[in-house]
């Protein structure tokens, strides 16, 4: 067949292979999705367009599509949260929400909890301070931002939890499709911040979940 699903991954890494939907046909996604459901796994697919999602949801009972984050999630019987700890997902602008959603559904798939803090960009920083106590209660933080990508630096300086910064492609002109946010985050003057690829909500959610298990 066209794909070799890495069936041992849960054993090796603590979570089964996740389907990357970009560039796959509805048929291919469905095929792999069913294979993983059949094996008894929690199944997650990311970057799934609405049409493919509809097809999968029709055929797989229990599959849920998030149209903002474009994820498909199937939780098997017996799914339960693995810990009391929680991940804060902070989002600079309303346009960054889809990336935050990809992170959040990934966290859910991996059996963890998240709290959302949306639309609190640095240009109106009182919005951040209004929620800083709740933010400080989180065990790991994901900070999603486009434009100049300054939010992880500000948050990173206010908390003692590890911060995962997610640059987004939201911006124009000299934003270079997210490169500016990415470079900004890599050069943060705050300590305790690590970075993932542009728009990679999945990667942030995955890594944050692993950190809860350390």
């Amino acid at each position: 067949g066209f794909a070799k699903v890495d069936d041992e991954r849960e054993f090796r890494q603590g979570f089964p292979e996740v389907i990357f939907g970009a560039g796959k046909t509805a048929e291919q996604i469905l095929h792999i999705f069913k294979h993983l459901v059949y094996k008894g796994n929690t199944v997650l697919a990311t970057r799934v367009d609405a049409n493919s999602a509809e097809e999968v949801c029709r055929q797989v009972e229990g599959a849920v599509y998030d149209s903002s984050g474009r994820t498909l999630l199937y939780k098997p019987e017996g799914y339960e949260l693995k810990t009391e700890k929680k991940i804060g997902v902070i989002c600079a602008g309303t346009s960054d929400i889809p990336v935050a959603r990809e992170a959040e559904v990934t966290i859910e798939a991996m059996g963890h909890r998240y709290v959302s803090f949306y639309d609190i960009g640095v240009a109106g920083i009182h919005r951040l301070f209004a929620q800083i106590e709740e933010i400080r209660k989180c065990d790991v933080l994901i900070v999603v931002a486009g434009m100049e990508g300054a939010l992880p630096s500000v948050v990173g300086g206010l908390v003692s939890a590890p911060v995962i910064a997610v640059p987004t492609s939201i911006g124009y002109g000299a934003h270079l499709n997210g490169i500016t946010s990415l470079l900004s985050m890599l050069n943060t003057c705050a300590s305790g911040v690590t970075v993932v690829n542009i728009d990679n909500g999945f990667g942030a959610g995955y890594s944050a979940s692993l950190m809860l298990r350390v």
Copy 2:
């Protein structure tokens, strides 16, 4: 001769030509400096190394060298402040101070006042809030920052004065000698921020001074 000094510039633009010292010999700087002093101008030279500065100071009474900002300033008799307004110069890290100094001496040369706010980067943002009332009293703000260049966005969201952002070359790796700070500032989500070239304290000081005269 090697240079055509633009003697009409004060008439046309309100300030005489400024000497850009980079790549000029001590001899060349001295020659132009004296010519401008002789014409009765306030004389400013930027990017002057210590040796050239020593030479000029020896020969031109009243010339003052700032070794941090690497500027030479000569104020003619009758020099006085042109207005009560003032420019705030905010600086993210201690390594950014030389660029701030270039801006400050330029402001002084143009006959204006400045107030300095140093080492208040976003990773310890309480330092900014501790001074925000003083900052809000300024008529124009210059914000100097290297690394991720986030400070102008935060300041820009807290004040109603125009902000001039100056990216610096302070950083390493993916900082790309200041390109990251520059891109960050150009993509600020705050309104009212304009940007000058990397390490261009002179340009910021000059533009800020013009704004005081609007």
Copy 3:
């Protein structure tokens, strides 16, 4: 809800939050627009496509769409000009006009006056000299240019007002979608020029308006 409108911004910065229409649905724009109208504000939305604009204009009496600059403006009762000062908006080529329009409507929204000088690129520089007296009467200048972005340098050398340079994405090949114009403007040999992001007419109009209030 999806957005946290920064209602204190007028208080903090002298102008209410402006709606950035790119990537928002007609519904979202309408929702925020109405909220701001209801609060009694001057309301400005930028980057609004024709369809969304039509929807808003149908529902909000007094909202005006500028199809060139793609802005929506609503002026509340009692709107009036804040000062006699004025901003000159200079434009290099006919294709740069939409960016100039975005700046002009922003200026109007903020309660200021502008004068337009269109299609006077440096390749036919007599067109600039034909209008230089009118240009010199302006208190702040915005210069919009694509291609090699040379116009701000020429204008900057002829006036004593602060100049805000706006690079545009008009060009092809090695123009790199505006990066060339941007780099050119950041490296201007004229003094008194600051720069905003590519195609950012809004930012230029906003900063120019703040400068009138210094």
Copy 4:
């Protein structure tokens, strides 16, 4: 003074401010170092050249210089390990070792344990497999690599701990001073990998330590 040490940082973030030695004089480093020692902190300085280090070691009893990682560390009385957990530091080539050392001393400063795995690049992958059992016993992993930066992907696929990838500037030509390693790591096909700036051993050690405390 030239610097505003962020004295509240330990309280806010769990660790005092770290001195970034690059671009600071021996005098400045010494001044801040003593201030922090005096306050009773563990004191860490990075990017310290041999001369400055010698000066500090002469004046501050107990300060230790690591000439490979170019760090200065002072551990106050009562310093002790905070947990039984440990961080694995894996290094691709012998030239990457200084960056690994910066990470390791940072870990030590923060009160944690590390295990080193050096010179096990992917071109001789049996060297990695020979140590994989020891690697799997670590709670967090730091993977340091230059050249094509492939090692974090391979390691990331073999373990269930979070991985922090550190690109280095080791390479030539199309390596672009580390940009290639950085881009490679940001695009890893392994899950659970986050990235820091080029040569930023400090950032990796700091974040890894925070993860141990989640």
Copy 5:
């Protein structure tokens, strides 16, 4: 006419000119294809869209379209394999398969044999080891990978055959449409690896075939 087919190429280089279909109309492709068939050649066209392919297949008996690799191949009477040697085509992800197919059909066109090893990326490296014995039996290897492009380094360290690395445009964000994979492969720490352009399966297949004839 619009094209000067290089009819002497087989004589000079051992294989006739290959038609590069991108940007050519169905009519143009058909015209050149027929000309080459008429001359008695093996005819290969790459980057052919489905419509053009259909047209050619309708008019040229024996022409075969590969819809994955988007190649058209016509083998003249008397076509036969030129040697017992064989080329291994290794592919990191399922999305890279079209590039691998372009290489494979090129190899077939040139009269050589290939063996395919698909979907064995480095994040699940046991899949590579499971096939390493078969891979070692190949005389030349082509390794196709997108994302971080690490596979050629790992393979290159395990075999003694020459390796041709083919970066693909599969990835997003900081992948820069394949530039990341390309840079990664050019900086491989394995010896014996050479590189072709992004997505250039044709070039890899062609060069690999020449190597079999050394």
Copy 6:
């Protein structure tokens, strides 16, 4: 030997091979220089450092070193101007003069005349208009500029002669060692402008000379 001097070049191209001094030892330059003198040629060497130049001048009577443009020129007996036409060499800033000199000596070597117009950058454009009549008398124009590289656009719009634009590496920060000037010139909105590599005074002088012979 280490070099194959292309002795037929004068026959083929109208001028003998020019020695590119960068990266050659004094010995190598001397060797080739003498070979060409011996053959009776006009001999030109560019990018020659002062030491090598001294060596050559000591041994070859008639060789002249220009320390600004760093060229060595030897004119054989019988050297004479080939035409009455002349090339204007316009230079934006005093720091660009060395590049202009390289062009001028090349023109002289090829048997043509030049007129210099120095230090007339666009920020003080009256300096250009003061000389425009003389400039219009030239048959071909070379325009040398660093920073934003705007001068060729302005000149190109005022004349009917072909213009060769030479970007220089004079600038800092976002000037990217000349890339900004280069991009600017390639995107000129004036017609009739062609471009050479950064700091390539030689190439400009050579091409301008060929144009005089059309």
Copy 7:
């Protein structure tokens, strides 16, 4: 109106303003086209799409559309060739022909002659040598090439006429939409080559025509 046609340009530069059709509506192009026809000019418009062209041709008798180069040309009564000299237009691949056509129609508009040499790329260099005698008869040469852009270097080394190199956007992957061809041409080791922007056939044709008039 939206445009200020530069009516003095013929007087100043020897040829009237050329209409740049990209981003202009059929209506705008028609309006300016008619204005220029009415003034008695030769009228040239470039980058004109088929629909706009049809509209102009319907309304302006004598206007001719070239669908390959996408140019519109109107020659007034009394149009005639200005000289016996001629320009050679050499083209590397069949896909580069549209750019060559833009150059050729520009040459025709300006009253000059051209000779075409198509599809003679360096990979089959005998095709170039087969025509070198005809090429050497040209007074100026335009060389159009995509991919690695090597042709101008080879041609430049074989002729004594000035060469204008035109990089095209034909290529893929690391071709970066023409940047590779452009960089290659700017770094040519041949003397006498100048360069224009990517795909700028117009600029090459215009400059070549000016050279014929030197």
Copy 8:
């Protein structure tokens, strides 16, 4: 110790580990060199500076330093050529010779023969044709070029052997330290060309040697 020499490499890959001297001390190089000599290997070290080389040559009898290519080679007793086949090493300019030398010594180390063709760049292409018969007798070709990097395309179109292209850092300005030559070679329109990193003579020599063994 600091290094884990990959002692099994000869067994796995047919040649022992090669010492990459850049960034290693004389002491480190000497240590590894002796270890490999002791094991009875052919020993090759690249990027070795003159001082380290002197040290090694003093202590290891039989070690030979090539000051152009900066390689150290030790051939054990019993060293002999492995085949009659030979590799042609073609070099565009005299400044590219050190890279060619690195390739040649690597070939010798691996037990193969090479023939050198120096200083035959494309600007004087008759020099290439003068040697084409000898070049065609080679079984594999290495083509080394800086500047526009055109030579591999021309050679690639004239031969049927596989070509390895080596871009060099020889050039200036828009050459970007070799990136231009690299991009050019990756986009060659000739078939049968693969590419290695900038200045990577070692990689080319190594791969070429492997190809002789296919």
